[in-house]
Symmetry: C2
Subunit: 197 residues, 2 copies
DNA sequence: AAATAAAAATACATATGTGTCATTTTTAGC
DNA sequence: GCTAAAAATGACACATATGTATTTTTATTT
């Protein structure tokens, strides 16, 4: 596959991403993507066999970007508590965006494609986020900012709370206050006294 | 609508429930339900316009049954901690069932049907479960079994953790150990010392 | 038992999606 | 500028779903 083909494949994935953002996963057909890309039926089938394959590529793209965002928060010259708070604030913002259809699409995709663990991008993202939080807590404990006996467990607990908020935001809806309360609980769990909040 | 019609409608909903349990929500067509019920196309359209309407009825059914299960745990002659543990054990069992396709179907349904809050059955279930946990914690606090400053907030936090575990079970997979750890954290959060665990 | 109403079945017209393949167009090397 | 390989096109054959209009069956009433 030449350079041109690589470019086109990338173009298809980026265009398809927008389609998935609008319609979720299951509703999207090859036809939709063909039309969005303004290419021919046969043309698309030259690159991808079905929507699942395209969506997997979209997920890989997202995954890379997600990593970058995280490292942005980290390289600041701040305390562990600051970084954690920054991260949670970022999460809050995402949670309160009315409809995160790409998140929905991802869930839909995993509902019907039970991937082996090593290929499960969602799991990778979960694990890597949990790992970073864990490290952050460890640093905080060393600094005396946090109190925590089981950093790994606590990190994963935080991730589960965030997951719970995320799916709730998409199904039953959540209020900013609910998110704030959960953040407060997380901080209290780490022995951080609530000052300005 | 005569008694016979009521019976038939009920029969359709119960049969459709099985179909949704096998295929989720979006994949299911009116044709699927027609075939499962062994009735005619026109016959089904006499009762329901589309799969969404049928699924709503399935949800109502589930909702009723969920209430019953909860009250079962409650009417025992046990301490608050016992009841909470019983409830969490029940949740664990459900979480570890390999594929809970009806749960997936429910999420799928809510992804595409943004219902007004008052009609959101999932929200009702969430709220009513949170309410019961809240009462339970209050009783525990009065008994001196638990320590808790914000029973309502804590109850909702527990629900979010459970929601996080539930969606994770369906997407990235979870281990029994992960659930146990979350349960442990919940109990610790209520000031319960871990004895036999 | 005939007449009428209600319920159910069937066939149809319409719509939408899939994947392939013969053909045309474009690209890149000589 | 010619030519061979690569890329792209769009029509086709097939499959599946929808919703309705008409007919048939079943039940009810007189």
């Amino acid at each position: 596959m030449g350079e041109k083909s690589v470019q086109k494949k990338k173009y298809i994935v980026e265009t398809a991403r927008k389609v998935f953002m609008e319609k979720g996963f299951k509703k999207v057909t090859m036809k939709d993507i063909v039309e969005a890309c303004e290419i021919s039926r046969g043309g698309l089938y030259l690159y991808f066999e079905n929507t699942s394959q395209i969506f997997l590529e979209v997920l890989r793209l997202e995954s890379q970007e997600a990593d970058d965002v995280f490292s942005d928060s980290i390289k600041e010259d701040a305390t562990a508590a600051d970084i954690l708070l920054l991260f949670l604030a970022e999460q809050k913002k995402e949670l309160l965006r009315k409809k995160d259809t790409l998140t929905q699409a991802t869930y839909e995709f995993y509902f019907e494609n039970e991937l082996p663990k090593r290929e499960n991008i969602l799991k990778k993202q979960f694990d890597s986020a949990a790992k970073i939080i864990e490290k952050l807590i460890e640093i905080g404990v060393e600094n005396g900012e946090f109190y925590c006996e089981d950093c790994k467990g606590t990190a994963r607990n935080i991730m589960f709370v965030l997951e719970g908020l995320k799916i709730s935001a998409q199904t039953i809806g959540i209020t900013p206050e609910a998110v704030d309360r959960e953040i407060l609980y997380i901080l209290r769990g780490l022995g951080v006294e609530d000052e300005e909040n």
